[in-house]
Symmetry: C2
Subunit: 763 residues, 2 copies
Amino acid sequence: MAGKIGLNITQICLPRECTEDEIIEEVLKLNEDPRVHGVYLHLPPASLTSRVLNTLRPEKDVDGVSDLNVGRLVRGDMSQGFTPPLANAVMELLARHGEQSPIQNHGREMSGVGPLTAALRMRNVVQSSSRWAQGQQYRPWTLRSLKLQPLSPVPSDIEISRAQTPKPVDQLAQEIGLLQEETEAYGRTKAKVRLSLLDRLREQPDGKYVLVAGITPTPLGEGKSTVVIGLVQALSAHLKLNSFACLRQPSQGPTFGVKGGAAGGGYAQVIPMEEFNLHLTGDIHAITAANNLVAAAIDARMLHEATQTDKALYSRLVPSVNGVRRFSPIQIARLCRLGISEIDPRALTPQEVSSFVRLDLDPAKVTWQRGRTLYNQLFPPPIFQPPHMIAVASEIMAILALADGLGDMKTRLGRMVVGSSRSGQPITAEDLGVSGALAVLMKDAIKPTLMQTLEGSPVFVHAGPFANIAHGNSSVLADKLALKLVGEDGFVVTEAGFGADIGMEKFFNIKCRASGLRPNVVVLVATVRALKMHGGGPNVSAGSPLPREYIDENLSLVTKGCSSNLRKQIQIAHLFGVPVVVALNVFKTDTQAEIDLVCQMAKESGAADAVPCHHWARGGRGSVDLAQAVKQASSQPSHFQFLYSQETPIVEKIRMIAQKVYGADDIELSPEAQAKIDYYNQQGYGKLPICMAKTHLSLSHLPEKKGTPTGFTLPIRDIRASIGAGFIYPLVGTMSTMPGLPTRPCFYDIDLDPVTEEITGLF
Amino acid sequence: MAGKIGLNITQICLPRECTEDEIIEEVLKLNEDPRVHGVYLHLPPASLTSRVLNTLRPEKDVDGVSDLNVGRLVRGDMSQGFTPPLANAVMELLARHGEQSPIQNHGREMSGVGPLTAALRMRNVVQSSSRWAQGQQYRPWTLRSLKLQPLSPVPSDIEISRAQTPKPVDQLAQEIGLLQEETEAYGRTKAKVRLSLLDRLREQPDGKYVLVAGITPTPLGEGKSTVVIGLVQALSAHLKLNSFACLRQPSQGPTFGVKGGAAGGGYAQVIPMEEFNLHLTGDIHAITAANNLVAAAIDARMLHEATQTDKALYSRLVPSVNGVRRFSPIQIARLCRLGISEIDPRALTPQEVSSFVRLDLDPAKVTWQRGRTLYNQLFPPPIFQPPHMIAVASEIMAILALADGLGDMKTRLGRMVVGSSRSGQPITAEDLGVSGALAVLMKDAIKPTLMQTLEGSPVFVHAGPFANIAHGNSSVLADKLALKLVGEDGFVVTEAGFGADIGMEKFFNIKCRASGLRPNVVVLVATVRALKMHGGGPNVSAGSPLPREYIDENLSLVTKGCSSNLRKQIQIAHLFGVPVVVALNVFKTDTQAEIDLVCQMAKESGAADAVPCHHWARGGRGSVDLAQAVKQASSQPSHFQFLYSQETPIVEKIRMIAQKVYGADDIELSPEAQAKIDYYNQQGYGKLPICMAKTHLSLSHLPEKKGTPTGFTLPIRDIRASIGAGFIYPLVGTMSTMPGLPTRPCFYDIDLDPVTEEITGLF
């Protein structure tokens, strides 16, 4: 009944009297048969029902609509095999006839089939076969590494970045196995990667999944991003293993404010760093636009509801077009939520009309905020300017980071709660009518951006949610794409913001829960500086010179730091059942005795390994030991488990995090927080995971408590929810969610030479 | 002394005892000699002084640093001519040795010259010669037109757009003579074009410059953009003339609010229309970010000045870095403006420190507004939300549209006045320290975006300043690039917003004054609908059905409309000495008698020609008559003149526009307006051109006065200034500068299919 023809493309060719069910049964069999890589529906037109067409798995569908003539023609050619000359001949034929849409030429009503149609179909077969071939096999990349000749002393980040010429991004894409149609170049050094890749590589096993987290940092940061980049440079350029870095897109607030660039540093950077730090491919701008579309829609709706009768609102919201009134799909969704099953606009009762047209938003309970790409100041009320937030803090950013695909993103966008009505009902973006427009604005942002490291290894830059009111991790989609691209023996290194108590905990409980991915290794970044601080060293603050304790050898402070904060953070990772490799990010002031001490104590505290890293000064070569250690640890079994189940009540989830992760005695809920929890339970949000908005400068809620604080009760000041993103975020203590600009922001030094077009002042 | 070698590349080769002045004299001669296309400086290292190197015109500089060996080697090969095999051999040699920077291998200290160096130099010669060759000759493009098969009835815009497959943008770029290194692709259908093109084609004569303006429109618009696109489709695809459309980038406010897309309509569109209407290449987002950086800098500065002493501010603004305090260049610029010549931070007097650190912005006189990509509502004060503006109304957008290059843009950005101090001094973006950072944010936005029409003709989309508080024209740079690309016999068609009384007047007096370009022809768009309205027909408003007068033939209304508004707008164009072609944008309800009447009366009113256009229904084929008429008119001499000289006092300039263009009896200045004029004169802004913010719905300030209003006095309510952009804008009457969203904004219908990724609801 089904005859094999060359290259495992199978045709179904049944007698006329077959029933639809029999055909479907045959299709289902072929769907499941791993030896069959493509199927023709070689059937009379009447048998090509939509049920039949829908049954065939798309990746096996060589040509959605087939017929006898073409089947024969193609079969004839196929017996010769898919040689390059044949493929070329097909392409040439197509070119001669002009590139017409295959759909136009595949109409079922066609009786005869000309050479063009045959060629089009053959092209489909060729493409389908080559897609299959590329999709199935793991192969080491033929990645061309960029040579690095580190200078000493290490020049500024922008000088290092500019001295290296990146590979053209289309070349990089080809090296890592992307098809031409899967990328969209943005200039010469950035490309968006299409999500269709996930379909193509569905059968490919994932690579190893490595998370880089850190101990509780000083306010100067401990270099997690540089560790990520250095590790991937070592894995790809030195160990010759397929590997990918997944990074967050930096916010322009820090770039122009305090922090400068975020593309790594020294000889572990993403290049060109200007591109990384500025507009990139516009994702954050798309978020700003989408965020502000919601804000504009709220304003407009409140104004119009305040000034119009139910009838006027209804006739404007559901206008008569050529004499016909119709609800739009987005409006029908709202009717459903209201429990109104009537979809004829003329048949609604006045009460139904009223509940349909009036969102009745309570101005005091609008929770949506206007977004911007830059910090604003937290001004006292008399000076102009209302609460704004930075775009990366928008729930839309958190959604981008957690979405699993276009459909999932759209659903989450529609589900976002923007405030509540005067009667206490949550009002969503879909109620406002903007969910489709939001998806349209975000349709390109959902594709991760491909860039490269200083040594030519691939990097995905995608999403950058805040690590306080959001989960602080790069996107699920970037990690998924990268895991498929590196293949079974490859490595994907991704990063969690803040210390492991925050970023890593959220990575496991929120991001891994959403994605279904399971990490193999945690790399925990430590510095002698931060360890000395935890061991009791004096305050470290940006802009002040470092006290002597941090410059001279001090083994006693290091010991105390290792036995407190480092040990605790290792234990936190072990709570989740994942092996830990400690990466000591070496500074030039660190002594060998200090370095050895940290590595020894880390291993005594349960780390699978602990190694010093010199990526900042030496690039990937300086991280080869770390790469070896990670490779070794990733071959150990990982017994990943969540800290809590979804079903655990909200208060219990918070308490578990506070006690098991932070080491608190208990939690203390403010009355506002308790009331919100009751409200969320009542609205059915109780199963969402928890995203703690806590300071990153201490395991406790008090930034000045270093080491491993004990004997404290964690105060929960308030609780908010990102229903679209899918988490509840308690505000712990006096955590500020919105920083401001300093007196002399970075922008004083940022400049552009109009002749050479070189940028100065980014660092 | 100078010996010619093949292909007009000349070397200078002087004896050692030559003086610098003698060498320079020789260089200057060769600079001016049109027969010499490239020059080697074939001199001993000691003679290669910077004066000598700077004297040589860059486009003749084959290789900045030359020497004997290479000279010989290259000459040897060059006697064979620059054959493709030679060029290929050079490239191959380079590839074998790795692509190294020519500069690295061109150090003057080199004594011997290996084959790689020789190859690098030869490549320079090859590139220089081929640039020269491409730059010098006008040639008709080998543009592949996209076939159009218009359907009847005309489908929706998005259906038409989607049914056409655009050419890959790199193919289009090649067809119109762009070099590969001159474009930066953004996906497959959009590319930014680098400004270096202007240098390469400096000697190329400009094409013909055609402005499309309109009569006073109805609120429904008269289709100026479709005329631009249809005309270019006709010129390029049907008359086979090089031609370019230059369009404004649409604001997302209209797209999601009332108007829908702005990519043209029917069979005269820019494709893909979704790309055109959404983020495009991020220029507007860059403007939003830049605009808000200024806002954030204002907020921060006011806060810090309010909370710190002079000394604290000074030590933060000019910090000690490694024991050294230094002013940044941007701070030295401020010192200059303050008349402080001291640049040692320790040497300033306390008074000088105080005037340096304190901008002392008066909160009541901050004129800078926060920008967003979308409309917000104009709310009465009790409801939240302060005055925001839409990003396209930002002065930064006006600067983008008027800038002549990167350096000019940076200067203008620094010059923007954001408010005034308590003592009345203007405070600029440079005073805030952000001018360099603004230029960095805008460095990509300054490059125009290349797209294509439905018939494959090239389109530049660049800048979209509002036509009320700004000048409403696309960018100077796009027009300049396009005029070079089309070459002497080609056509560039650009558009002015609103009616000719506003958009065209500003095009001449502001844009042409800034650019130095001179238009050859004005195309004045009229519709029977608008003419009937001016002839006394009933009100036309969006959302209401059209009254019968507009559907049935009514020659009397048409006659009155032609003899009033149409005649007046033709006369306005003649004020500037430019010939007019009237383009009647035909609707299906127009009768032949109406069409003939309009064309006849237009010619009687002084139009060089008047033709009906059917581009909406038929594409370029429907605009062939217009294309012929424009070609004919462009061969007439144009005697362009400005309406007023820069030296004319502000009040007089306003009066001249009011009387000569609008037909007012006189103007009436409010006391606020008069006070502002005095202030601007005192600050030295008196020579700036005028940008009237007047309703576009009437020649007068009263939207309901149709036809040719007379006997009115134009009230000037207030006056503002965009010092960076370089114009002063009087607010006429009660003109609103910020529209809001309707009850049922377009976004209700905008949706994305998550599987096919198709967008619906854009129209």
